[in-house]
C-alpha cells in the first residue's frame, strides 16, 4: 500500500517532481506510517484519502501547473479541477444524462457492478483469511519449527520430538518461549455423550507461547502433569451450554481422566480451526526415548531475532542431542544430517490456501480491468457522439478542464452507481461463495461483509471510474473546433487506435484467464482419473468405539468386531465387509522404522514404512488387488498370529527383486517377527496427488492379547446401497453397543470428491472469471467493429457502388477484427507463458506451460473473436449503395 501511494507521486509532471518529488514521497510515506501505527482502519481511510488527493492534485497540476503559472499578485484563484460544488453539479448533470439513456446506463453500470462485486467479495475473503494478523499477541515473533534431513529416509520436512523441545527450552538464547504439540481425533465422554473429536496434546506452555489467555478458569502449569485439559469456546457452548461450573469437573478424555481447568476464547484456534480440546502434558527428561519425531513445535522469539539466526542456533543445538539423550546409531546419523526449518507461524497455518486465494483475487481483478476497458470503450463511443456538443461548449468559452470534468463526472456517476450495486451483489454472493468453499480453509468462518470490504468497494469504484473515464475525458477535453464546420463525421486514426488498443488488452487478459482455467480443468480431469488402487464406488465407511467392561484385551476386541462384521454382512444388499484402522482419504496411517530379516549386514539398518491394521476381507471389500499370496483370513485374527500383508512398494523397499512371501519383518526395537503372507497393490492413502507410500498391514490382534488393541477401527461395507444404508447400520450399532455413537460416516465416493474440493473450487471460480472475461472481450470486439462499420457506412457504400462484392466487404471487416484479436491473443500467450507457473501446486499432471492447452484456448479465443466480427461484417455487406449515396 505504501509503495502504491509513493508510486502515485509519479503522476505529477516532471517539473513538479524535480522540485518537490523527494519531499512529497517522504511525507506520503511518513503519513502512512503514522496512520498505520494508529490502526488498520485509520491506515485504510488515510491511504484512500491520500491516494485520491495525489491523483487529483497530479491531474490538476497537469492541467494548470502551479510552478510556471504567471505569478498572480495578491489573490490566487483555485484553478484546474474545479471546486467540490463544480463536481457536484457535473455529477447531477451526468446522473440526469444516465436516466435519459437507460440502455447505456444498464450496460455500463451492470458490467462494472458485476466486476467490482466479485472483486470485493474475493477481497474480503483474502482480507479475513490471509491479511488479518493471527489472533495471538505479537504474531510476527511466532515461528513454526520443523526439521529436514537430506539423504535420510524421512520425508522432506518432518515434525520434531520431545528431546528437541527440552534442548531448545533450556539452551536457546534467542527464544522467549517454546511449545510442542500433537493433534488427532480421540474420544470424549461427558455422561452418556461420547464422541470422537479433534483434540491436541500440547505442552503446558503452548498458551504462554502464543500469548493467549482463557476466558474462564486458568491455564495449565507444569505441575499439572497429565491430569488437566483446557476446552475451546465452541465445545464449552455446544457440550456444556456455556455453564461456568464446568471448571473443576473431571471427564473421560482419550482413555484417561482429566479435569477441566480453563475455557479459551472464541477467537482461539490452534493448531486447526476445529480443535476442541487441549490435553496438556508436561515433558520430563527422565525416561525420554529420543527419535520419536512428528510433533509440531511453535516458538516465540525474542524481539528482533531473524529466522536465519534462529535456524542456525536450533540446528547447532540439535547436534548435541545424541550426547545428552543417547539413542541408536541410526538416530546419531539422522542428527548428523539434521537441519532446522523455521517458518513464520502464519505461513505454516495459511500456506496451503494462500496460493489459490491470491490466484483467484488476481483473476477477478483481471475481470475488473477488462470490464473497465469495456466501459471505457463505450464511453469513448459516447464522447464521439457528443463531439459536436463539446465543440460548441468550448466555442462558447468552456475550458479544457471543465470539459474533462464533465466527462469524468459521467464515469464517476456510473462507478458510484456500480459501487452501490456491487456492495449489494457482494452481500448476496459472498455467503454463496463461502458455502461452495472447500472445507479446511482456515478462518473461512470469519469472512463476512464488513467496513473494510465496503471501503475497498468504494476505492475500487473510484479507481474504476478514473480508469475508464480518463481516456474519454482526455478525448472530450480536446474537441476539434475545425470539425464543427464539417458535417461532424469521421474518426481520426489516432482515436481508433485507442479503441483497438483497449480491445487488444481485453483479448490478451481474457486469454490469460482462459488458459489458467484450461490448465486447472485438465488437472481436475487427470486427478479424477487417477487410479488410487481401490474402488471408490459402492462403499460405505464408518467408525464406532464400544466401551464395555467385557472388552478387556486385544482378543476380546477382535472377537467383538469379527462378530459384528457377521451381523453387517447379513444386511440385505451387503456383499462384503472389511475392517481397517485408517480408512483411506479419511485418516493417515502411522509411520515407523522396520527391520527386514536377513538384512544382517547392518543390524541397525531400518526402513521407514507406513503401517495400519486390517481385518479379514478388507482388500476384497475395497477391491485392492492381491498381487501374490493371500489376504487376511479370519484365522489370522483368531488363532494363526504373526502374519502380515505388505504393499508392492514395501516389498520393493524391504527385499528388492526377491520374492517377499514367507520372509519376516518387525518394527525396529520390537522382538516379535511377522511373516509376509501376501503382497497387495499400492494405495493412495492421503490424497490423489501424492504417490503411494510403502505400507505394512497387520491383523487386528497379535498373539499376546495385550500387545495392541484397536480402539475404533474403520468399517468398510461394500453395498449398492452405500448412500442409504447408514440408518440400518446405526440401529445395529445401537443394539450391540448402546454407549458408542457411530461417527465418521462417509461413502468412499464422498471422500474421493472431498479430496479434490480445493482444486474444484479454484477451477470453478477461475472458470467463471474466465467466462466473464471472454464475454466482455467478445462484446468489446463486437462493439468496436460495429462502430467502425457505422462510421464507414458512406465509404463502404461508395466501394460497393464501384463494384466491390459483398464477400469482399465482409472479408475486409472480419480481417480488421482478426488483426485486433490476433495481436491480443499473441500478447495474451506471452503473458500466460510468464504467469501460469503461479498456479504451481494447484496443477496436477499438466505442466504450467502446456502447449496443447495454450493452443486450444488461443484458437478458441480467436474463433470467438472472428465470430464476433462476422456480425458487423454482415451488416456492412448489406449496405445499400444507392441509399448511402443519396444521403451524401
Amino acid at each position: 500500500m505504501k509503495a502504491v501511494l509513493v508510486g502515485l507521486v509519479r503522476l505529477f509532471p516532471p517539473a513538479f517532481r524535480r522540485r518537490f518529488g523527494a519531499e512529497l514521497e517522504a511525507d506520503v510515506a511518513h503519513g502512512w506510517d503514522a496512520a498505520r501505527s494508529r490502526s488498520r482502519s485509520a491506515a485504510l481511510s488515510h491511504g484512500l484519502g491520500t491516494a485520491i488527493d495525489l491523483m487529483r492534485s497530479a491531474l490538476a497540476e497537469r492541467w494548470s501547473p502551479t510552478l510556471t503559472a504567471p505569478a498572480p499578485t495578491t489573490t490566487i484563484r483555485e484553478e484546474g479541477m474545479g471546486t467540490f460544488a463544480d463536481w457536484l453539479r457535473d455529477l447531477r448533470v451526468s446522473g440526469r444524462g444516465l436516466r435519459r439513456s437507460p440502455g447505456f446506463a444498464a450496460v455500463t453500470i451492470g458490467t462494472l457492478a458485476l466486476a467490482i462485486g466479485v472483486t470485493a467479495g474475493m477481497f474480503s475473503v483474502v482480507d479475513r483469511v490471509l491479511l488479518d494478523p493471527l489472533p495471538f499477541a505479537h504474531p510476527d515473533r511466532l515461528m513454526a519449527v520443523l526439521g529436514t534431513a537430506p539423504g535420510s529416509q524421512l520425508p522432506p520436512e518432518f515434525g520434531l520430538g520431545s528431546e528437541f523441545y527440552l534442548q531448545y527450552r533450556e539452551q536457546s538464547k534467542l527464544i522467549e518461549d517454546v511449545a510442542l504439540y500433537g493433534e488427532g481425533t480421540s474420544t470424549l465422554r461427558v455422561g452418556d455423550h461420547v464422541e470422537r473429536i479433534l483434540m491436541a496434546w500440547p505442552t503446558p506452555d503452548l498458551f504462554s507461547t502464543l500469548g493467549a489467555k482463557p476466558v474462564l478458569g486458568r491455564l495449565p502449569v507444569q505441575s499439572d502433569e497429565d491430569s488437566v485439559t483446557v476446552i475451546s469456546y465452541a465445545l464449552w457452548q455446544s457440550w456444556f451450554g456455556g455453564d461456568s461450573s464446568v471448571i473443576g469437573k473431571t471427564y473421560d478424555v482419550s482413555y484417561g481422566r482429566r479435569t477441566v481447568v480453563g475455557v479459551m476464547g472464541p477467537e482461539f484456534h490452534f493448531p486447526s480451526d476445529g480443535t476442541l480440546l487441549w490435553n496438556s502434558s508436561a515433558i520430563r527428561e527422565a525416561g525420554l526415548v529420543p527419535g520419536r519425531l512428528g510433533a509440531g513445535m511453535v516458538i516465540r522469539t525474542k524481539p528482533g531475532v531473524t529466522p536465519q539466526a534462529l535456524t542456525m542456533e536450533l540446528t547447532s543445538l540439535a547436534k548435541r542431542l545424541p550426547d545428552r539423550f543417547g539413542g541408536s546409531a541410526n538416530y546419531a546419523r539422522l542428527i548428523g544430517q539434521f537441519r532446522a526449518v523455521v517458518r513464520p507461524l502464519r505461513d505454516d497455518m495459511l500456506g496451503s490456501v494462500s496460493r489459490a486465494l491470491w490466484v483467484l483475487l488476481g483473476a477477478v481483478t483481471i475481470v475488473l480491468i477488462i470490464a473497465c476497458a469495456n466501459v471505457a470503450n463505450i464511453l469513448l463511443v459516447r464522447v464521439e457522439g457528443r463531439h459536436r456538443e463539446m465543440a460548441v461548449r468550448q466555442a462558447i468559452g468552456a475550458g479544457r478542464a471543465a470539459l474533462a470534468r464533465l466527462q469524468l463526472a459521467e464515469s464517476l456517476a456510473v462507478a458510484v452507481a456500480a459501487g452501490i450495486l456491487a456492495v449489494g451483489l457482494a452481500w448476496v454472493t459472498l455467503p454463496l461463495m463461502l458455502r461452495a468453499a472447500p472445507p479446511g480453509v482456515p478462518r473461512i468462518g470469519r469472512v463476512h461483509m464488513d467496513a473494510v470490504t465496503i471501503v475497498f468497494t468504494a476505492g475500487a469504484a473510484i479507481v474504476a471510474a478514473l480508469a475508464c473515464g480518463l481516456l474519454p475525458a482526455l478525448r472530450a477535453s480536446a474537441p476539434d473546433l475545425a470539425r464543427l464546420r464539417e458535417s461532424g463525421r469521421g474518426t481520426t486514426r489516432r482515436h481508433l487506435w485507442t479503441r483497438n488498443g483497449l480491445v487488444v488488452a481485453q483479448t490478451a487478459l481474457a486469454l490469460v484467464l482462459l488458459i489458467g482455467s484450461g490448465l486447472l480443468l485438465r488437472s481436475y480431469s487427470k486427478l479424477s482419473h487417477v487410479d488410487p488402487g481401490y474402488a471408490t464406488s459402492d462403499i460405505f465407511s464408518f467408525q464406532f468405539a464400544p466401551e464395555q467392561p467385557s472388552l478387556r484385551n486385544g482378543a476380546d476386541w477382535a472377537a467383538f468386531h469379527l462378530r459384528f462384521m457377521d451381523r453387517l454382512r447379513a444386511l440385505p444388499g451387503v456383499t462384503s465387509v472389511g475392517i481397517v484402522d485408517n480408512v483411506p482419504l479419511d485418516e493417515g496411517t502411522g509411520i515407523g522404522p522396520f527391520q527386514a530379516e536377513g538384512q544382517v549386514a547392518d543390524p541397525n539398518a531400518v526402513t521407514r514404512l507406513h503401517y495400519t491394521f486390517a481385518g479379514p476381507a478388507y482388500f476384497q471389500t475395497m477391491h485392492i488387488a492381491v498381487l501374490a499370496g493371500r489376504e487376511f483370513t479370519r484365522e489370522d485374527n483368531t488363532v494363526d498370529f504373526g502374519n502380515a500383508v505388505i504393499s508392492r512398494k514395501a516389498a520393493q523397499a524391504l527385499w528388492p527383486n526377491q520374492d517377499p512371501l514367507g520372509r519376516r519383518l518387525k518394527p525396529s526395537g520390537d522382538s516379535t517377527w511377522s511373516t509376509v503372507v501376501g503382497v497387495v497393490n499400492d494405495v493412495l492413502q492421503d490424497d490423489f496427488r501424492q504417490p503411494a507410500d510403502p505400507m505394512v498391514y497387520f491383523p487386528l490382534r497379535a498373539a499376546d492379547p495385550n500387545a495392541y488393541r484397536l480402539s475404533s477401527p474403520g468399517y468398510v461395507v461394500r453395498t449398492v446401497r452405500a448412500e442409504t444404508i447408514a440408518p440400518e447400520i446405526r440401529a445395529l450399532v445401537h443394539e450391540v453397543a448402546p454407549e458408542a455413537p457411530m461417527y465418521r460416516t462417509y461413502t468412499m465416493s464422498f471422500l474421493a470428491q472431498r479430496s479434490m474440493n480445493q482444486l474444484r473450487f479454484t477451477m470453478l471460480t477461475l472458470g467463471v472469471a474466465a467466462l466473464l472475461a471472454l464475454i466482455l472481450g467478445v462484446v468489446g470486439v463486437y462493439g468496436v467493429l460495429a462502430y467502425v462499420v457505422a462510421e464507414r457506412r458512406q465509404e463502404i457504400g461508395v466501394r460497393m457502388a464501384l463494384g466491390a462484392e459483398a464477400g469482399q466487404v465482409r472479408r475486409m471487416v472480419v480481417a480488421q477484427g482478426a488483426r485486433v484479436v490476433g495481436v491480443g491473443a499473441l500478447i495474451g500467450l506471452g503473458v500466460a507463458l510468464a504467469t501460469t507457473r503461479l498456479l504451481g501446486g494447484l496443477l496436477y499432471g499438466v505442466p504450467a506451460i502446456d502447449l496443447s492447452t495454450f493452443a486450444a484456448t488461443a484458437g478458441m479465443m480467436v474463433g470467438v473473436g472472428l465470430l464476433a466480427s462476422y456480425m458487423p461484417a454482415r451488416r456492412a455487406s448489406s449496405i445499400d449503395p444507392i441509399e448511402t449515396l443519396r444521403g451524401e
Binding site: L24, G31, G49
Partner: protein
C-alpha cells in the same frame, strides 16, 4: 487567498517549517477543519513560492528532525508577511461585520 493558503502562511509565521510539519500545523491550527494531504499541500506551496509569498530557507537547527532524511524548510518572505497581515485584517473586519449582523457582542 483561500483558507488553506492562509493557514500555510499562518503556520510559517511562527518560523521556518518543512512540509510534513506544515501539514500538521495547518490541521492543528484550523482545529481540524483543514487537513490538506501531501499532494494538495505541495501544490499550495508551489503557488505561494511562485507568488513570492514563501521562500526556501536553511533549517534553524543543525540537527535534522529526521536523521537521514533531508528536509527542505520554507519561510515567509516580506511580501508573505504583508499578505498574511492584510488577510488577517480582512478576516477580522469581516468577522466584526458578521458579529454585528448576527447581533453577537464582540469579544473582550
Amino acid at each position: 487567498m483561500n483558507l488553506v493558503e492562509y493557514h500555510v502562511l499562518l503556520a510559517l509565521a511562527g518560523g521556518p517549517l518543512y512540509g510534513y510539519a506544515i501539514m500538521s500545523a495547518v490541521a492543528e491550527e484550523s482545529a481540524g477543519t483543514h487537513t490538506p494531504r501531501a499532494g494538495s499541500l505541495y501544490r499550495v506551496l508551489a503557488r505561494l513560492l511562485t507568488a513570492g509569498l514563501v521562500r526556501e530557507t536553511e533549517p534553524r537547527t543543525a540537527v535534522p528532525a529526521h536523521p537521514g532524511l533531508e528536509r527542505r524548510y520554507y519561510a515567509l518572505t516580506a511580501a508573505g508577511r504583508r499578505a498574511l497581515a492584510a488577510e488577517a485584517q480582512r478576516l477580522k473586519r469581516t468577522a466584526a461585520v458578521a458579529e454585528k449582523r448576527l447581533g453577537v457582542a464582540p469579544g473582550h
